[in-house]
Amino acid sequence: MSGEEKEYDVVSHSFPKVDGEALAKGRKVFLDDIENSTDLVASILTSPFAHAQIVDLDTTKAEKVPGVESILHYGNVPRVPHTTAGQGYPEPSPYDAYIFDDRVRFVGDRVAAVAGTSWEAVQEGLQAIEVEYKELDPILDPDRSRQSEIRIHPEEDSTGIYDPEKNIAAHVDIEVGDAGAALADADVVVTAKCKTQFAQHAPIEPHIATAHVDEYDRLIIRTSTQVPFHVRRIVSQVVGVPIKKIRVIKPRVGGAFGVKQEILLEDLVSLFALRTGKKVKMRLSREEEFVSSRTRHPMEVEVELGASKDGRLKGIRMEALSNTGAYGTHSLTVLSNVGSKTLPLYNEAPDVHFYGDAVYTNMPVPGAYRGYGAPQGYYSLEVAMDKLAEEVGMDPIEIRKINHIQEEETSPIFEKLGEGKEGTVQYIHSCKLDECIDVGAERIRWGERGSIKEAHDTEDKARGFGMSINMQGSGIPLVDLAAARLKLNEDGSFNLFVGATDLGTGSDTVLAQIAAETLGVDLDNIVVYSSDTDFTPFDSGAYASSTTYVSGNAVKKVAEDVKSQIIDLAATQYGADSKDLEIEEGRIHTPGGTIDLSDFAILTTSGELELDQQQIEATASEVPAESPPPFAAHFVDLEVDKRTGEIEILKYVAAVDCGTAINPNLAEGQMEGAIVNGIGYALTEEMEFSNSGEMINPSFFDYKIPNTEDIPEVEVILVESEEPTGPHGAKSVGEIGIDGAIPAISNAVRDATGITITESPFTPEKVWKKLQEAK
């Protein structure tokens, strides 16, 4: 149902970010700059053991350290089972976490926290805490964990764990039709089993939060978060302060990518503030960010595809084993998304079985991370698709084109599998995936790849081309809530209040553009204020690719409401019929003439108005009925050095259909950043561990994120469609870019060398070993 090309005034234009100037000037907009100096600072003592019981914890010496003002540990804080996942209530994650517990479950787990007048005093205080541990056997492997007698969560008060006896945090099993029978009947069956690693988000600004109690005894929390409203609710839950007494404010955020969808510091700064009456700041060091914050779920995913001789999919079986580390935060939903964000893409297959476990181990805690299970699922799925193409003798592009979902089609998976529970029926209204594939193929010179390879291949070097296709979603249907409030000022400008959370992505700008477009005014007449629980209406937060689509729809609704209020009032004032009035470029056109919105706006609050003067304003809520997927095709042209196993990416192209790109430049920025993050995930980024479960490379010195010399310039093409349910035709684009790199690169390595790399990251030695084995 892609409509005709629409003309927009504000939307679909690459305006600079509304916060761009403040950021480029280095103004004090990040929390550590705003709160450069607080009364107290605090840090956490973490566990040196992967699994241990705390037998005794003595703070006598620490309390005597000059400057130390407060110490928190399991003996002096409330014990409230909860989840650190910043998800909508009731959260689909188990309540298996405590502010502090007398048991530690991974190296880096919380043991105690100290607040003091200086970082030095705090460090000294932490070192002076005497902890007696009784070491327990650690379980580092998820498969072993399922069969082990050792329980990672034996406590009685945890809830929502699928099978605590077997250390299974979450379990999913859905079937459409009879996949087993379909696979048995298929002409061709192929399988792929791929394994992914622990990887970290690595926002350049690590976690930071401050709290103080104000003059009216309210707890004021400032935090670099994706989920201010969930922070307020969860702090209330675990600290025991009513929601009405808490205000959460989000400053600018220095990158998040999912890791700040988690309540990691806010409970502690709150307790310290309440106990000392002082303003307290906590921030994670880079090492703590790696070891103690959140990571991506490592997984092993097996995909079995059955197809007819002509390449049409008949059945898919997908099995996932997810390592959820010490706590089950996001365990069920990430596991669900491995299937729900991938399997509907190939709706040609009528019979589909998806099942798997998320299993506890004594390892660091995975959580939400851009892509949220989809990258893990696409790795095996897209590698299997290339194998199938080879089996049936088809081009990888062609086999995808005959199997992927199209406009006005649906997949039963949408209904069967949602965010950890049943989903909702959904039809695809906009899909330009074929165009994405075609334009990407053209840019990478897919058609000429045979001759390019022939011209360049040498004894030592092998050229290869690979691709993958993906879909994601736009928010969580019937779960997310986004609200926006808009009010008219006397000069014709508007304050837009959104609970939505700009993480640096530019969502404040995107939402302002949607408001300006809808109202018929210039962008600079929209003043955005976001993410302050006292002043902005509720929003679930910035996750699950929800902001542009879900929050954007709330903004569009509220702008339509305010616009009709203005028109109605103006119609009455000037004796016209509302339907004959229009606002364009900041002017109200009436049958009797044109008036500047600014001239009319001042009347609305003055006695000059013939009617009652009034504040024109509205609030609107949006609960999405569906989650229209953006679609993307990734293409890579690379060279493998057969003597070293090194992969050099020569060219990387991705085309994406995200509906109308509200701000094309920012949409490209989302894609480009996600792709480079994805390439890092594919090639170099890996958290490494000792045999006792301790991370051994917790710094940028040893955890390698791509820089400008590691990757070529990625090329992103926006293939716009018109999503009828989206604000001005838009879908979301925050996550999808990270799904493609691993499978596209793996497929290209296979094209180059014939070997299939089934374990990320694709380090030179892994590739080299496979090549040696294949000799």
């Binding site: 003597r643 390698k704 791509p706 820089n707 010399e709 590691d710 030695e765």
Partner: protein, 286 residues
């Protein structure tokens, strides 16, 4: 990060600098500061800044091929200095650019790169493969082959002395060319393996060979057997094959978490072969 520094000395002479060093090794010489800042150590309580000792001078005698570089010269200066662009065919300047990132090279000094015993150093094998010597001061001025850098007795000497610079004596006749390879996980990463080689040739014969391998994963060393084999040979491509096996046999590599022994050996072979065929190719093209 340093935490316990109470004294900061800026001596005006080498003698003064040496006299400031205490016997309990709680004082540290600094020049660029980068290495020490990275060490995250509580140990240093006194820092002795060598920055005012004029140890950043460079002498190059074009005729004799003798090069002297002061210890506090920044790595980036060496990358950029005009005088070095043609030295050994640009070997030193071009390959030092592979060290760290631009701001790191702006801070890091030659001396600092030598005295900090990092097995993954790129600077050390680059210098070793030029046959460099260390100049030091322990009350009197001394010179010692850089290849002794990691020997116990020299580490002991270094504990009570100041590295003042390095010197390289290229043969007075003949031309010198080299290749240096670094294997790392990303561009801006320390080496998992590195290897450098220079050959000096005159009238179609190799008159001097220097080859070094670092990040084995232990400290860098010269491959003297390979050097001895190469010296005196005619410049021919088939030298590479024999030298490559010899390098693999004598490099003394082992495995660590970054590379298995087998893989590291395979890369030593590849680097040696490419270095020799590359350099010999350079000469044969002339």
């Amino acid at each position: 990060m340093l935490k316990n520094v109470t004294e900061y000395h800026i001596p005006g002479s080498l003698d003064e600098a040496l006299s400031l060093q205490d016997r309990e090794s709680r004082s540290y010489f600094i020049a660029g500061g980068t290495g020490l800042a990275l060490s995250n150590s509580n140990r240093p309580v006194e820092l002795i800044d060598l920055g005012k000792l004029h140890l950043d001078e460079l002498h190059l005698e074009d005729e004799s091929g003798k090069l002297e570089i002061g210890a506090t010269t920044k790595i980036q200066q060496l990358v950029e200095l005009d005088e070095l662009q043609d030295f050994a065919g640009g070997y030193l300047a071009n390959n030092l650019e592979k060290v760290g990132s631009y701001p790191i090279r702006n801070a890091g000094t030659l001396g600092g790169s030598i005295v900090r015993p990092f097995p993954w150093s790129d600077v050390v094998p680059i210098l070793l493969s030029l046959g460099a010597k260390i100049r030091y001061f322990d009350g009197t001025h001394g010179v010692r082959d850089l290849n002794n850098l990691y020997s116990d007795d020299f580490r002991e000497t270094l504990r009570n002395s100041i590295v003042t610079g390095i010197e390289v004596d290229l043969p007075e006749v003949g031309e010198t060319r080299g290749r240096f390879y670094k294997f790392s996980r990303s561009e801006f990463d320390i080496a998992s393996l590195n290897l450098g080689c220079t050959l000096t040739a005159l009238n179609g014969k190799i008159t001097r060979a220097r080859m070094a391998v670092g990040a084995r994963p232990s400290f860098a060393r010269r491959l003297t057997e390979v050097e001895d084999f190469l010296q005196g040979q005619s410049l021919e491509n088939d030298l590479a094959e024999e030298a490559t096996e010899m390098a693999a046999d004598t490099a003394g590599v082992t495995g660590d978490r970054k590379m298995s022994k087998d893989y590291r050996l395979a890369q030593v072979r590849k680097m040696t072969e490419e270095a020799l065929t590359g350099v010999i190719g350079d000469f044969l093209e002339q």
